[in-house]
């Protein structure tokens, strides 16, 4: 299968990555090679097979709907790049 530079640009945007021209071209070739490795999957007969999301087929555990974590805003924001008065700061989004 072939992967175009346009496809790479689209994936990069979805993944929120900014790629240089050089990187985009390199990734197009490398992803193509990786997908060629993956094509063998298409030949597998999986018509009657249920998808497996968890290696032990475990079900999601439920717990009582009670608060277990305290408010640790200060601790968590101490490692944030930019905060002010308990708020995370980002470039202006709303005019």
């Amino acid at each position: 299968m072939s992967i175009t530079k346009e496809q790479v640009d689209k994936i990069a945007h979805l993944a929120r990555l900014a790629l240089t021209e050089e990187e985009a071209h390199a990734y197009a070739t490398q992803l193509e090679n990786i997908f060629n490795l993956v094509t063998v999957l298409q030949q597998a007969d999986t018509a009657e097979v249920r998808p497996m999301a968890h290696p032990m087929d475990a079900k999601q555990r439920l717990r009582p709907d009670v608060i277990t974590e305290g408010n640790e805003r200060e601790v968590m924001q101490a490692i944030a790049p930019l905060t002010d008065m308990g708020l995370y700061l980002v470039p202006q989004v709303i005019e």
Binding site: A15, A18, E23, Y27, I34, T39, R50, P51, H54, V90
Partner: protein, 485 residues
Amino acid sequence: MMIHTLAEYQKQLLAKKISSLELTQFFLDKMAQHNALNSFITVCAETAKAQAIHADELRAQGKAGPLTGLPFAHKDIFCTRGIKTTCGSKMLDNFIAPYSATVTEKLDDAGMVLLGKTNMDEFAMGSSNENSFYGVVHNPWDTRCVPGGSSGGSAAAVASRIVPAASGTDTGGSIRQPAAFCGITGLKPTYGRISRYGMIAFASSLDQAGPMTQTAEDAALLLNAMAGFDVRDSTSLNVPVPDYTATLNDSLQGLRIGIVPSFFGDGLNSEIGAAIDNAKSVLEKLGAQCVEIELPHHELAIPTYYVVASAECSSNLARYDGVRYGYRAAQPVDLMDLYKRSRSEAFGQEVKRRIMMGTYVLSSGYYDAYYLKAQKARRLISEDFKAAFKNVDVILSPTTPDVAFKIAEKTHDPVKMYLSDIYTIAVNLAGLPAINIPCGFSGQLPIGMQLIGNHLTEARLLNIAHQFQQHSDHHQKVPMMESSS
């Protein structure tokens, strides 16, 4: 001071022949002497000494447990409160974990002394440790070679005996492959046996922590403390933890070992094949019987893995946004620019490649063809093992198709690098436990073999590995190293 295993140091501490502080200082000195290996990202000298002093006090008060005062190292993927936790990435170069991983807490509570945080492939993605933001780790047996990955720092540190033991994590072979390349014992337990809480996520349905040690006996000691149910990990198994040291000396009489003939074909270094033949005869002398088995869907393992792992990686790593913690690009013009540049500037090439791949297989129009298809193939792979374990107790295979390769030999060809995980990957897809055990040398480079067991048979794997190590000496060999100071 002589080099010893954890179990031996345990006896010396118990007999009060050494103190934890002496032991800790001994290893801190060795780490400094051999820092050219680059096996550490962070050395915790001061906190380690404080922990050692505390451990010695506990012992004096008669409050010491089996692991109290024993030093070790953590792979830098486990969150350690107050200590930098980088996951080998520029993204987390400034990240001081606000909480500790369950594994960190457990070993801390057991009284172990944390010597430092070991180097690793960025976000555990890699098979050579060449993807670390902190530089490549050198294989102590031949410093021109890679130590394997992603737990390459832990493997190199244990192999060179600059730490007595270390933790690792294994998503597609990241404990077993570096253990094989460096000639140590490395156990990847059953998925869910050890809590993933606070272990930085790569592919959540595959990630599993485990011990990396000189011997199976040491692995049993560490697993005793690491394993167990954790309410904070939604996929943790609520199953009692046996004493893994209690069954190490069980007999191997009647043990049925499965051998997959196609694993020993052209793709395998013939010296590895010969070393495993020797190991087979050792195990047969101990009462085991080898039986040929097939894993018909094994060729699907690598493609399935790279779809599943990449998909999970792309969603797990979406959390790095330059806003809440980690790297943030300077002077962003808008929010999109902040996201894109923070991620692009701080993630390395391999991580970006996997995020791209994962985003693609999960994107609209491709989900069924790739991700869903891979999840179905995953079941086929898992069913193969289920069928095999009806006839055999364990499966013996090579851990790697070849011994450690040269630094930079495979960095330009991701596919070639991925293919080196051929023997380890299916185990993660099926959630099985498996152990690497040293079984010979090719020239000066170690050879490892892998024993795969059914779910929750860690005790049996450790028992077989221990019995093998009682009747072989490959695990006792130590590389000759020049000190760097």
